[in-house]
């Protein structure tokens, strides 16, 4: 019972964070709302028995990705808006309609389908994840490490200033 209330609260928090993330004018506030939303998602992960992933979410997503985003915001946009820009109504309307359609479509889909059921109890442990990573899922594991390498190199190359020694 309590769990359900908590659950609803967390869900609302997440959604609220998300809404704020896309609607606030000041982009710094967007980033902060994103952090809120991500925190909510992490709590939801805990509800889904994946504690390890919740921690990872907080460390990586909030602690690294969101911070990086804030870095970029600091480096690129002025904190105080110099001029007030008129909101482009057509664009907002268009995106709102599309988003609403998507939402409605997805709802319909999940309402109609009968999902296969399985036992919610099982081995959620980190050990199991590790075993899986190094035996069944070894290929994507290695590939992801390669992708990370490429991304880092790419980012470095892109961000170089002209004239600096390579």
């Amino acid at each position: 019972m309590i769990a359900d209330i908590f659950f609803m609260g967390v869900a609302l928090l997440t959604l609220l964070g998300a809404l704020l993330a896309v609607s606030l004018k000041n982009v710094f506030y967007n980033a902060l709302s994103l952090i809120l939303s991500l925190f909510g998602v992490a709590c939801l992960f805990i509800f889904l028995n994946s504690e390890f992933l919740a921690i990872i979410e907080i460390i990586l997503y909030i602690g690294a990705i969101a911070i990086a985003i804030i870095f970029a915001i600091m480096l690129s946009s002025p904190m105080i808006q110099k001029k007030e820009e008129k909101p482009d109504v057509k664009k907002i309307a268009r995106s709102f309609i599309l988003a609403a359609l998507f939402f409605w479509g997805l709802l319909q889909t999940l309402r109609r389908t009968v999902w296969p059921a399985a036992n919610p109890e099982g081995d959620y442990s980190l050990g199991a994840i590790g075993k899986s990573l190094l035996s069944n899922q070894i290929l994507p594991f290695e590939t992801v490490s390669l992708v990370l390498l490429v991304a880092i190199i790419g980012a470095l190359m892109l961000a170089e200033k002209k004239g600096t020694a390579r």
């Binding site: 659950f7 998602v41 970029a72 690129s76 995106s95 988003a99 296969p116 994507p140 992801v144």
Partner: protein
């Protein structure tokens, strides 16, 4: 509302829709990136929901979400470099100022 597969899926659908709205509607490039993160998160939520309620092998879904997070990190890394590059060139990160690849 009780925790059931349906509820999680509804939440994730809502997150997705909000993310799409931000993706298409925001002018600031970083804000667009933020919306993209929301979409990715909704996908992770989806995976874990199914992991709990429909998958017998409980490590599979989690492994997948690990990959999603890792890839999101890599992608944000590159995207932010690009944004900084664009800012250096144009002194603005308005999406509408970057229209040079037109046909």
């Amino acid at each position: 509302m009780s925790q059931s597969l349906q509820s999680y899926l509804v939440i994730s659908s809502a997150l997705f829709a909000i993310g799409v709205f931000g993706l298409l509607g925001r002018r600031n490039l970083v804000a667009v990136l933020i919306s993209l993160e929301l979409i990715l998160n909704s996908a992770s939520l989806n995976f874990l929901a199914f992991n709990k309620f429909s998958l017998p092998d409980k490590s599979l879904g989690q492994v997948f979400v690990i990959f999603i997070i890792a890839l999101a990190a890599a992608e944000v890394c590159v995207a932010l470099s690009l944004i900084l590059l664009l800012y250096r060139k144009k002194d603005s990160i308005n999406v509408e100022d970057a229209k040079e690849l037109r046909g």
